[in-house]
Symmetry: C2
Subunit: 220 residues, 2 copies
DNA sequence: GTCTATAACATGATAGAC
DNA sequence: GTCTATCATGTTATAGAC
């Protein structure tokens, strides 16, 4: 499939692109800049990445892999839901810390329902399902009732998307505002988890589930 | 400022563009197509609209004006919160009914924090503030406690954005899925309004408000 | 000052030679 | 696998018509 040399060229193009995106932003970086920086031709860059957006997708995959790696360490350490969930968000922020300029390109692609790297598209499916699974694992602890885990995972993942959108807009040092927002939202959310898990909440859960199912938002 | 003739040319360009966007989608329509369809030159099109996105912004403004007009009729007719809010959403869906292909372009621009027509940008401010005000009016009825109106308006407007995103993705006939989603979400949401308005919920309201304020999400 | 047309530019993407 | 040449299209500059 791909030779050693091709592998290296691909990596060089990816690294150059990400570094340029970080420094100057997604729009400001041209594919010609990327090719020149990687000391290859425009055609070669397009040989390895079918579009500029595809490079962002590769970044997205890298972030996910790193997040999973570090999340698993946290999961092994603690069974406290709050800690686990909070860690998942903070981890994400740590990983993309220096990438605000890059995230603009990501957010745009991801929000575009027609884009091949949209959150809804099939090419991002692996990362999307993996991310949801990560939240599913985070809430899979004795403290959280079985019945609310699936719903909770989807809700937390949706929040994760919203946080990334907020981050692109947050210019506070060290993403302080976004981090504060994570804390505030979790402080609001976490107390209702036991309530939702109680038998009294069964009709409400059913109502929620029916709504999400009808909307096609439930994984099958 | 602008002459009669210029006015007509501008309108012709806008109508042509929207009609082409509707038929073929935003990306598939070139500015050259628009100019040709409006029987004018490319330069003229750019004289009247500084960018392709700006045309979408003009559409956005048209939708808002129509929505306000029809909302005011509903507000005059009923003081029931549920009905008023539901009408605001259904109205929106009615107005953009035939524009799914167009909305793709809008969503992308709106989500891009750097775009000049982003939800966050100043050029969309008038429409954004107007839309939030519309929700503020919808919930300004005796049944809804003063204390929850501002919060409620922001929450409902956020939901409105999410619904538009969902709509771009909903290919069911007559946007049935999106309409169902509106109903389901409101059925879930409306019962908690009186609870949130009660004095017991004061600490919760304060917590929420503090969080939104720290995040800069509260209009000042 | 208001408007229109033409040419040119920058850049994402593709085709085909090697 | 890689490169060069070329295309398509969003955007800008500019000249000038009314």
């Amino acid at each position: 499939m791909s030779t050693e040399r091709g592998e290296r060229t691909r990596a060089r193009i990816l690294d150059t692109a990400l570094s340029l995106f970080r420094k100057h932003g997604f729009d400001e970086t041209t594919m010609r800049d990327v090719a020149a920086g990687a000391e290859t031709s425009l055609g070669a860059a397009y040989y390895y990445f079918e579009s500029k957006e595809a490079i962002v997708l590769a970044y997205y995959e890298k972030v996910y892999a790193e997040r999973r790696r570090r999340a698993e360490q946290v999961f092994a350490r603690t069974a406290d839901v709050s800690e686990r969930v909070r860690a998942l968000y903070q981890l994400h922020l740590d990983i993309v810390r220096r990438d605000r300029k890059l995230l603009g390109g990501l957010v745009r692609s991801v929000a575009d329902p027609l884009s091949s790297v949209s959150v809804f598209s099939s090419s991002t499916r692996e990362v999307r399902d993996g991310s949801i699974a990560l939240f599913r694992e985070a809430v899979s602890v004795p403290d959280v009732a079985e019945e609310v885990r699936d719903l909770g995972a989807i809700a937390l993942w949706t929040l994760d998307l919203a946080l990334m959108l907020y981050l692109t807009w947050d210019d506070s040092p060290r993403q302080a505002r976004t981090r504060q927002l994570v804390d505030d939202v979790l402080d609001l959310l976490m107390p209702i988890v036991p309530l939702l898990g109680s038998p009294f909440a069964a009709p409400l859960r059913a109502q929620l589930e029916r709504a999400l199912d009808r909307a096609g938002l439930l994984p099958r």
